[in-house]
């Protein structure tokens, strides 16, 4: 259980970073931390105690494999995370080029 809780702590650090930091790059870092935490949580729920990796072997039958489904899903989630990070980084670079700063308190053309 404690592992689950530590994972939630990691998630909330990311949440804090997104909600409270005033720098575009810091916000991207917060997004990455939340993604890592959710991915890790997914794998934790699929782990079987003293399990083996879900790959068949030629010379022996493996019976106690861990759950392969979360692993497949997290692979997709990692790609999604990469795509989002790349896109947001591109936007941040353009924002920096236009405004000359990463500080969101100074990036305020819109009324919000």
């Amino acid at each position: 259980m404690s592992v689950y809780f530590l994972c939630l702590v990691l998630f909330s650090i990311g949440l804090y970073c997104i909600l409270r930091k005033r720098n575009l790059i810091k916000i991207i870092i917060g997004i990455m931390i939340t993604e890592y935490a959710v991915n890790l949580f997914f794998i934790l729920t699929g782990y079987r105690m003293h399990g083996r990796a879900p790959i068949h072997s030629e010379d022996q039958a493996i019976l106690n494999m861990v759950d392969p489904l979360p692993q497949a899903l997290v692979l997709t989630a990692i790609v999604i995370g990469l795509a989002v990070t790349a896109l947001i980084a591109a936007i941040a670079i353009r924002v920096y080029e236009k405004y000359g700063t990463f500080d969101i308190t100074k990036i305020k053309r819109l009324k919000g």
Partner: protein
């Protein structure tokens, strides 16, 4: 590779890159082609292939890299990878269902087994490798063009 001492990083980096980059590329291809029998697969392998080109670019500068791979070629491969993937999926409709794995499964633990899965892996690696290379090149070239404007 063309060695222009003014471009890119120092000689040490260039020499090491020359030695390792081929191995990295080969490792990427290995990971892709053995995706269905060992850990790895199209995505991880594609990223490694892209990283090998990014490695050249970081060490030698963009001119040398563009002699090897042009951006338009990368963009072509990206679309082709995606089209191969969706075409294989649509061919499955002929077998009854979207994404139906219609090829013979073959003997397990061999390279040529498990039907369409290696082909899907190839398509994904093309797509991922080319796509990530384009993202990287776009981000790098943007800075260069901005610098040119400021000067």
């Amino acid at each position: 590779m063309i060695d222009d001492p003014k471009k890119g990083m120092t000689l040490i980096v260039k020499t090491i890159t020359r030695l390792t980059v081929g191995l990295i590329l080969l490792f990427g291809i290995y990971i892709v082609s053995h995706g269905h029998i060992s850990p790895g697969g199209g995505f991880a392998g594609g990223v490694i292939v892209a990283l090998s080109f990014i490695h050249i670019m970081l060490a030698f500068g963009k001119e040398t890299t563009f002699k090897k791979v042009k951006e338009s070629v990368a963009s072509f491969f990206e679309s082709i990878g995606a089209i191969i993937f969706i075409t294989l999926a649509m061919l499955g409709i002929g077998g009854g269902y979207f994404f139906f794995n219609f090829l013979a499964k073959g003997e397990p633990f061999r390279l040529f087994s498990s039907g369409l899965i290696p082909l899907y892996n190839m398509a994904i690696s093309l797509k991922v490798g080319a796509g990530l290379f384009i993202i990287f090149v776009t981000l790098i070239l943007f800075r260069v063009s901005k610098k040119g404007e400021e000067e």
